[in-house]
């Protein structure tokens, strides 16, 4: 069984505070496990808590980075298993046209960003570059491809048996897609999310906010609902909440976006601490 646990679903910047307690303040980090096979999707600030509570039986951990924006990587150095000599950590992340992933990760693991260098860790993490790939980790079959977001950015489709989960936390679906939302062949991310059992997808903005932030790489909640409808997903959790929005504001944006819609699939705002079983 695929077990999915959300350790952070905030976008851009951690947003701790009592007014944000329900949806949580940590940035992107999602744990996906099947027995002792452990995938961690993104290493935002949420990965720090995950590192403290991770099952000690797990000796090999695969961190899959959608991209290297700071909100998806800021927690890396605070992930305790990196300092445990009996644990092996793999980093998977997007290929760029020029700089190898190893060098881009080293930028983070060096002063002034972080005092510990990769080479100082008890086990040097194993680095794997991804683009448009199909690969497996344990029983998980994973498909990665680039999506519309500034800089090399991947989405992941994870399959276990017949169940599928798609993770596209940063995605400006409307910008790249012709005749959105009616033309699947020309819609960024369609293949990743097509008919999945569960989709986590970027949806930080209201429509007027999106119009002000065109090209910044994120989607309005309404575009996310349209994308999920086009992809015929069974369940959608909206991800990458704006750090400026409180729990109450998130709920009111969501309620406004849902007005008059009869979607035919389950949908909610993603929440730190939420668990899904597929």
């Amino acid at each position: 069984m695929m077990k999915i646990r959300v350790w952070g679903c905030r976008g851009s910047l951690p947003a701790p505070g009592p007014e944000n307690n329900y949806y949580g303040g940590n940035t992107s980090c999602v744990e996906v496990t099947d027995g002792e096979t452990c995938l961690i999707l993104d290493a935002g600030s949420g990965i720090q808590r995950l590192g403290r509570f991770i099952d000690p039986k797990i000796k090999e951990i695969h961190i899959l980075l959608t991209h290297l924006h700071i909100d998806h990587t800021m927690g890396m150095g605070f992930f305790l298993p990196l300092y445990n000599p009996s644990v092996k950590v793999h980093f998977w992340g997007p290929s760029s046209s020029v700089t190898p992933l190893l060098l881009r990760l080293r930028r983070y693991f060096s002063p002034p960003f972080f005092p510990v260098r990769l080479a100082d860790l008890p086990n040097h993490p194993e680095i794997h570059e991804l683009a448009f790939n199909d690969f497996s980790i344990g029983e998980f079959q994973i498909h990665s491809e680039y999506v519309c977001h500034p800089g090399p950015t991947l989405g992941f489709r994870v399959r276990l048996g017949k169940k599928t989960f798609a993770y596209i936390p940063d995605h400006e679906v409307r910008l790249g897609s012709t005749h959105f939302p009616t033309n699947p062949e020309w819609t960024s991310g369609f293949e990743l999310a097509n008919k999945v059992d569960l989709l986590f997808h970027d949806g930080g903005y209201t429509v007027p906010e999106y119009e002000q932030k065109l090209g910044w790489g994120h989607s309005a909640v309404e575009d996310t609902l349209d994308f999920a409808t086009l992809c015929q997903v069974k369940h959608l959790a909206i991800f990458h909440h704006e750090p400026n929005n409180t729990d109450a504001q998130l709920e009111s944006i969501f309620a406004d976006s849902m007005k008059g819609k009869d979607l035919g699939f389950e949908v909610e705002l993603c929440r730190e601490g939420a668990e899904y079983f597929l």
Binding site: S97, F132, E145, Y146, G176, E185, N194
Partner: protein
């Protein structure tokens, strides 16, 4: 039909916004998209034709030289770009939809995505005087 890779999706969206005529083709030479200005030159409308297989659109697009002799398709810039994955340019004549002989220049570019994935080519046209 499977979705196109992001680079072609963005390429189509980009040329759709241009007033410069443009073609977008896959690695086999199938015409994935042409924008409105390209449609005007060839008397076609993408909304009506959609994409076209290589054998289909090569019958519509019949370039010839200054003496009226058809040009060997292998010599066309876009075909060279698909063969060699390099940029190419050239010029030739075609008949516009109302039968006029027009001279066009073509620049074609391979679409090589990260990391080194060859996904097709883009051709941009200029109507010029010979």
């Amino acid at each position: 039909m499977p979705a196109q890779p992001l680079e072609l999706i963005l390429g189509r969206q980009f040329v759709d916004t241009l007033s410069l005529p443009a073609f977008l083709v896959d690695p086999e030479g199938n015409l994935l998209f042409y924008n409105e200005p390209a449609g005007v030159i060839f008397g076609l409308n993408f909304g009506e034709t959609g994409g076209m297989r290589v054998e289909e659109w090569s019958t519509v697009f019949t370039p010839f030289d200054e003496y009226g002799k058809p040009i060997d398709p292998e010599e066309l810039p876009l075909v060279k770009t698909l063969r060699n994955q390099t940029p190419n340019s050239g010029s030739f004549y075609i008949h516009s939809m109302n039968g006029d002989k027009i001279h066009i220049k073509v620049n074609s570019f391979p679409i090589i995505a990260r990391p080194e994935r060859f996904l097709g080519a883009l051709a941009l046209f200029w109507k010029t005087d010979p």
